[in-house]
Every structure is written in structure tokens, then in C-alpha cells.
């Protein structure tokens, strides 16, 4: 009895926090999204409008780019993160601790600073281009292909933005996969081997399906911040690879003040992301059950 009474009491700060800083802002976003910019208030005459949503059609390329880049970044993270997590989980305890520190180390530094340093690496006179120049790579290429190459254009490309996302969010992919693989029941693997599965089959039919929950939570943790980022696309894209986050930021803090349009974009993005997550989780559950059966 006592225990049951204590829980809600402990939950009060959390519930209050959520109500104040999660639910209320979302309600405000919804309110703003349907408000006519001219009227400025939803419940005034002519206050309600769908214009903000109608205008969004012209930003379809930004939506498309955001989702494309975020999906690519997430896929790259899975492709890099899964093997890392897999081998990490198989190694000795000492190695695991070391690897964990190495993975977490960059995250102790400020996120903006980390991303900013990529500019110094990738810029026209950045480290990579200077190195290539020093070893005569450009002369070589120009000699062979008859081109007039002076530097590699890396910043301001979609690839640079994806790189920024992968670099920043890769730990969020590795860690959940790692912890799932670590907790795998070894008797299942032994049983699979006893039943005659070779190591490929063990991985394909036992380990991989069982690590799907880790992949799914990794995907969520990489995809959601990627699709909504604005700092990475601004720094790595030089303002030429606008993503949804930039578009929203522009409406609130940037050159074009229109919080109504900004809220509408944020709302639509939120809905799309929720749908994506829902579909993915359903797909994940189905897969797991199918394998289990």
C-alpha cells in the first residue's frame, strides 16, 4: 500500500516538468500553426487559417532534402555502428571499457566546437586540401585527366552534412546495439549451434534478429536529431543545404520573422517523424515475432 502511494508523489516533479516544458510548448506550436499572421491571435476574428500549411508546398524540396540526408546518415550509422557494437561486445571487459571511453570521448567536447573543427579540416584551404596539395595529388590528377583542379569542394555539399550527422550521432547508434548484444542469452547461441547452424546462420537467424530492438532504438536516436538539425547543416552546408531545422530557425530567430509559418512547419515535421517511428517500430515488432515463431 505504502509503496503505491509513494510513486505518484515522486512522479509529481516529472509530470509537472513534462506538462510545463513538453506539453505546453507543443500546444503553443499547434496554436501558432493555425493562426493567421495578420491577426496574430487564433481566437480573434479571422484568426484561424490553414494558409501556413498551404504555403509549405513551396518548401517541399527542404522536406525532401531533410529526410533524404537524415535517412542516409542513419543508414551509414547502422552500417558503421553495428559491426563496431558487435565486435566490441565480443571482446574482453578491459577492451570494452577502453572502447567505451573512446566512443564517448568526443561527446565531452562541445557539440558546436566539434562540428566547427570539421570546417577547418574540409575547407578549401583546410587540412585535407593542403595535404593533397603538398603531396602533389592535384597536379597528378590534372596531369592525367587534363582538368584544372585546385581543391576538392567538400564543404557546402550534401555529403558534408551527412558526415557531420554521422560524426555527431554515431555513438547513439553504437551504444544501444552494444548493450543489446551484450545481454544476448548465450544459451540461445549454443542451442543454435547444437542444432547444426553454422556461424553465418547463427548471426543471421539468431543474433541479428535479437539485436533488432537495439538497432531500432539506435535508428530513432540518430534519425530524429538528424532530420531536425540546423546547426550541422548550417555549418557543414554553408547555408546552401537548408534543412527543416534551418527553415524553422529562420522563422523564429533568423532573417524572416514568421513564427506562425515556423510552427506549422515544426508541426508537420513532428507528425511525419511520429509516423515514421510508428511504422518502423511496427515493422520491427513484426520482424521479431516472425523470427520468434
Amino acid at each position: 500500500m505504502k509503496k503505491r502511494n509513494r510513486l505518484p508523489l515522486f512522479a509529481v516533479p516529472y509530470v509537472g516538468w513534462m506538462a510545463l516544458f513538453v506539453v505546453a510548448p507543443i500546444l503553443m506550436v499547434v496554436l501558432y500553426a493555425f493562426t493567421n499572421a495578420q491577426a496574430g491571435f487564433l481566437f480573434s476574428p479571422d484568426g484561424f487559417t490553414l494558409d501556413n500549411f498551404a504555403r509549405m508546398g513551396s518548401y517541399a524540396p527542404v522536406f525532401l532534402r531533410s529526410f533524404q540526408l537524415a535517412i542516409v546518415a542513419t543508414l551509414v550509422c547502422v552500417l558503421i555502428g553495428y559491426p563496431v557494437a558487435y565486435f566490441m561486445a565480443r571482446e574482453g571487459e578491459q577492451f570494452q571499457k577502453m572502447a567505451m571511453v573512446i566512443i564517448m570521448l568526443p561527446m565531452w567536447m562541445n557539440f558546436l566546437l566539434r562540428t566547427y573543427s570539421w570546417i577547418a579540416i574540409l575547407d578549401r584551404n583546410g587540412f585535407i586540401n593542403q595535404f593533397c596539395r603538398a603531396i602533389g595529388l592535384f597536379d597528378l590528377i590534372n596531369g592525367i585527366f587534363g582538368t584544372n583542379l585546385e581543391y576538392f569542394q567538400m564543404l557546402g555539399t550534401p555529403g558534408a552534412v551527412v558526415l557531420g550527422m554521422v560524426y555527431n550521432y554515431l555513438p547513439f547508434m553504437i551504444l544501444p546495439i552494444y548493450s543489446v548484444i551484450l545481454k544476448l542469452d548465450h544459451s540461445l547461441l549454443e542451442a543454435a549451434r547444437d542444432l547444426g547452424a553454422d556461424s553465418v546462420s547463427v548471426f543471421r537467424r539468431v543474433i541479428f534478429p535479437l539485436s533488432l530492438p537495439g538497432i531500432l532504438s539506435g535508428v530513432t536516436m540518430v534519425f530524429v536529431p538528424s532530420v531536425s538539425t540546423f546547426a550541422i547543416s548550417q555549418m557543414m552546408g554553408g547555408g546552401t543545404q537548408m534543412m527543416l531545422g534551418d527553415l524553422i530557425e529562420l522563422q523564429f530567430l533568423g532573417g524572416a520573422y514568421n513564427p506562425y509559418l515556423g510552427s506549422a512547419i515544426a508541426l508537420v515535421m513532428m507528425v511525419i517523424v511520429v509516423i515514421c517511428m510508428y511504422v518502423m517500430n511496427r515493422f520491427g515488432e513484426g520482424e521479431e515475432e516472425a523470427v520468434m515463431l
Binding site: 547555408g239 527553415l247 522563422q251 523564429f252 514568421n258
Partner: protein, 368 residues
């Protein structure tokens, strides 16, 4: 910690007073100094790299008022920030000041508290954005011109055309605020910066969009321009004269030009918001910044020209005394443009609401 330092300074100041004052005045003087040393603050929002930071300490030490100094990226960004934050002093440019006055967001100043206003050159009083000069004290002025790296282009650049020329694809940095970027395109097309003709503005937008499509722009930047141009990472950019002089210290190949089509001539002025909580402190800050001594020191640090008559006259001497070498007058003319250059320049006027909305919409379209 800071409070203690301020307290220490004010008590030192009080001690100074003590030595020069008659005995009976001592308790009163020291008392008031301690009282004011406590919790007087002023919230200032200005641009990045736009003040000599030691002046903030000097002001705090002299007055006991704590300065909360923050920065905004552009006039438009400042305007957005004003929706949610309370500042006392802001330092917007001409056209944004008119807009803020029009919207009733600025407080009328009490010029009795700002005696140094008298030192401001007549050229910078009663300007179009504040015709009766009730709201503002000018802070700096200058031009928005074209900066290029002479080692990276084949011939000297004299026209805004270079900002749209596919020949320089990937080498150009466009400024990241709607008024300046669309303004540059308008100038290049031979239109007025203050045109309200929507077709002309649309044409300017098309010009920018076309150049963006052709890959002319390496990026849209504000203060990132320093690292990009200084490091030879881009060849051409549009930015403010004062910042050019800062960049020049780090890269002697950089050149500044007011293109033949003309340029924007801006005045940034300090004003106090109507909702300001600390109006007296705000006026003390403005008065401090307007004084000749502070203007000289600030001018020397940020390389933007001050509107203070004495500071403008004394700066070459000040420079020589400080650095032991004469000031390059060619550079001084970039900093404080002479009248024949200014004649070719146009300052921004506030646009009607529908034009501002058009600018915002086109700007979003351009970047997306």
C-alpha cells in the same frame, strides 16, 4: 566574484573621492558608492565583434553597474529576439530603428542624462530614421562593400557583378541577411536600395536565385566571413568596412572596394527599449560609449568609425601615439568614408509592411 571586484573598484573610487573631498562629505560619498555597487545592471544587445571588451570592464568599474552584454547576428535576428527577451540598450541599424519607432517599441531618451550627445557630429544627427532625434545616439557608421582576395582573382574587382558571376563559382560568400543580400542585387541591377516596386525586388531575387543555382555561392554567412576570407577559403565576399580592416590585419591580400554601382551607407545607433527595466543605467551606458575617449578606444578596436566629431579628428593622432607609426590614410578613408564616396551610397529606409513581408518570403525561398 564580479560583484566583489566591482565593489572593490567602487570603494577604490570612493577612496579617491575621499582624498579630494572635504571631511564632512566622506560618509555620504562612500555610502552611496557602496549602495550603487550592488545590483544595478544594464542589458545590452549589440552585434558580434562590435565593442572593445575592456570598455565593459571600465564602465563597470566607473559606475558600479553590471553589464550583461549579448549579441545578435543581424537586424532581423535582433528583431526576432526582441519578441522574447528584455534588453535595455540595443544597437540596430537605421532602417530597423525606423521600424521599431514605427511600432512604438523604443523609449524617448532623456538627453540631459547623455551630455556626450553634444559631441556627435551634426552629420549624424536628425537622420531620416529619427528626424527629430528623440530616440537614438549614433554608435558607428560605415559602408557595406565588396571584399576580395587579390591573390585569388585575376583582375581588380570594381562592380557588384562579381557577386553573381559564374566565373567565380564556389568562391563567393553572400551576406546572410535579406536586406543586404537583396540590396546588393538591387544595386547591381541599378535600382534603389529602397525601391518599393515589387517587380524590381522580384528581379533582384531572381538574380540571387540564378547565381545560387549556378553554384556561385560557397555559402551564406555573417561573421563566419572572417575565417573564410582571412584563410583564403573564399575569394569574394560582401561585408562591412570596419570588419574588412580587422580581416586585413590577418591577410594583407584582401582588398575593399565600394563598387561603382554604389553601396549601402549605414548608421548604427544606440537606443533604449520602451520596456527597459533599467533606463537610467541604459542612458549612463550610452553616455559612456559616446564620450570621445571611449569612442577613440573603441574605434581603434573594432575599426568602425565613430560619429563623435572629436574622435574622428583625433583618431590619426591617437593611432600614431598608440602604435608609433602614422595611420595609413587610405585605410582611414575605408573606415570613415569621405563625402564623395558617401554621395554614391544610399542608406536604408524602413520599408512598408508588405515589402518587408515580401523580403522575408523571398529570403526564405532563396535559402530553401
Amino acid at each position: 566574484m564580479k560583484k566583489q571586484i566591482v565593489l572593490a573598484f567602487t570603494s577604490a573610487l570612493a577612496l579617491g573621492l575621499l582624498s579630494s573631498c572635504a571631511m564632512e562629505e566622506v560618509p555620504e560619498g562612500s555610502q552611496s558608492a557602496v549602495q550603487t555597487g550592488g545590483n544595478r545592471v544594464v542589458n545590452v544587445c549589440s552585434w558580434g565583434e562590435y565593442i572593445d571588451p575592456s570598455l565593459i570592464d571600465q564602465f563597470e568599474a566607473e559606475t558600479g553597474i553590471t553589464v550583461n552584454y549579448t549579441t545578435a547576428e543581424s537586424n532581423e535576428a535582433l528583431y526576432s529576439k526582441l519578441q522574447g527577451t528584455n534588453y535595455d540598450v540595443i544597437c540596430p541599424s537605421d532602417y530597423m530603428i525606423s521600424q521599431l519607432i514605427e511600432e512604438g517599441k523604443l523609449a524617448e531618451l532623456n538627453y540631459d542624462n547623455i551630455p556626450n550627445y553634444a559631441l556627435i557630429d551634426e552629420r549624424f544627427k536628425n537622420l531620416s530614421f529619427d528626424p527629430d532625434n528623440k530616440y537614438t545616439v549614433p554608435y558607428t557608421w560605415g559602408t557595406l562593400g565588396l571584399i576580395y582576395n587579390s591573390a585569388m582573382v585575376s583582375e581588380p574587382i570594381t562592380s557588384w557583378d562579381a557577386m553573381f558571376d559564374p566565373q567565380y563559382a564556389g568562391d563567393v560568400l553572400m551576406i546572410k541577411n535579406s536586406r543586404d543580400a537583396i540590396g546588393i542585387a538591387l544595386l547591381d541591377l541599378g535600382y534603389s536600395l529602397n525601391t518599393t516596386n515589387e517587380a524590381e525586388i522580384q528581379e533582384a531575387y531572381e538574380k540571387l536565385a540564378e547565381a545560387k543555382e549556378a553554384g556561385v555561392y560557397q555559402g551564406f554567412v555573417m561573421d563566419e566571413v572572417f575565417q573564410k576570407l582571412e584563410g583564403g577559403n573564399a575569394a569574394i565576399g560582401a561585408y562591412y568596412a570596419g570588419d574588412y580592416l580587422t580581416m586585413l590585419e590577418n591577410n594583407p591580400d584582401l582588398k575593399y572596394v565600394v563598387p561603382e554601382e554604389g553601396a549601402n551607407y549605414f548608421v548604427d545607433a544606440m537606443c533604449v527599449l520602451k520596456d527597459a527595466q533599467n533606463k537610467d543605467e541604459a542612458e549612463a551606458w550610452i553616455n559612456f560609449m559616446a564620450s570621445t575617449e571611449v569612442s577613440l578606444k573603441n574605434m581603434d578596436y573594432i575599426w568602425y568609425a565613430s560619429p563623435n566629431t572629436e574622435a574622428l579628428e583625433q583618431y590619426p593622432t591617437y593611432y600614431e601615439e598608440t602604435y608609433g607609426e602614422p595611420l595609413d590614410m587610405e585605410l582611414y578613408e575605408i573606415m570613415a568614408a569621405p563625402s564623395d564616396v558617401l554621395e554614391n551610397c544610399e542608406s536604408y529606409l524602413v520599408s512598408p509592411l508588405e515589402i518587408r513581408t515580401l523580403y522575408n518570403d523571398l529570403w526564405t525561398d532563396l535559402l530553401s
